[in-house]
């Protein structure tokens, strides 16, 4: 079995659409099946990692606790684009996990170091 390097670029806000949660399912599955998977959060995707998500009143499952299982699923890296945080008035302390915050040039390098890119 040939292991591939897979990068998920998450650009969508959670809950407004199913992109965030179903993309996470796919990323976890590929990783559990032995591929080397990393996740990037950019644009509105950074909202997926916001602390204190309370979804009871909109009647949807809170997806944010699942991100904390990333190590169990052997996800390689979690990256967040600095510019996307800034544009949304957010900072590292707003996020529920310790992630690698990188600038756009570093992000370009991360993309270059992967074989397959998944956009969501």
């Amino acid at each position: 079995m040939e292991q591939k390097t897979c990068l998920f670029i998450n650009r969508r806000s959670p809950y407004g659409s199913t992109h965030a949660s179903e993309a996470l399912d796919m990323a976890f599955a590929l990783s559990a099946f032995e591929h080397r998977v990393s996740l990037i959060f950019m644009d509105d995707g950074v909202l997926q990692l916001m602390r204190d998500q309370q979804t009871e009143t909109i009647g949807m499952k809170n997806m944010s606790p699942s991100f904390k299982a990333w190590e169990d699923y052997e996800i390689q890296h979690l990256y967040v684009e600095q510019a996307s945080l800034e544009t949304r008035g957010m900072q590292a302390s707003d996020l529920l996990l310790d992630v690698e915050i990188i600038d756009s040039q570093q992000l370009a390098k991360v993309i270059q170091s992967h074989q397959f890119i998944f956009n969501n």
Partner: protein, 102 residues
Amino acid sequence: MPTLHIINTSPNMRTALQSCLRVMHEDDGIIFIEDAVISVKKDTPIAELIKEKILTGKCFFLKPDLEARGIKEESMTQGIKLVDYNGFVKLTIEFYRTQTWS
């Protein structure tokens, strides 16, 4: 190892192109398909945005999508390259990976 970025939404409606330009490498290519083909029009803010990319000769447009939308050759920015579905396939081989932006 350069990437082929596939843009499929109009830059007047969505920020896919802007985000793509922010994180793309200078050797990367872009192909505009579906509603993104409106980016081909000359003398527009979008044309200005992709000017440098066009100069590198790595800006491609899916011809069937341009034709479908009635966009004529004389209204297109100079230097862009038109491809059909076969050309699109060839590009995905020429570049090492693809990244779709919606």
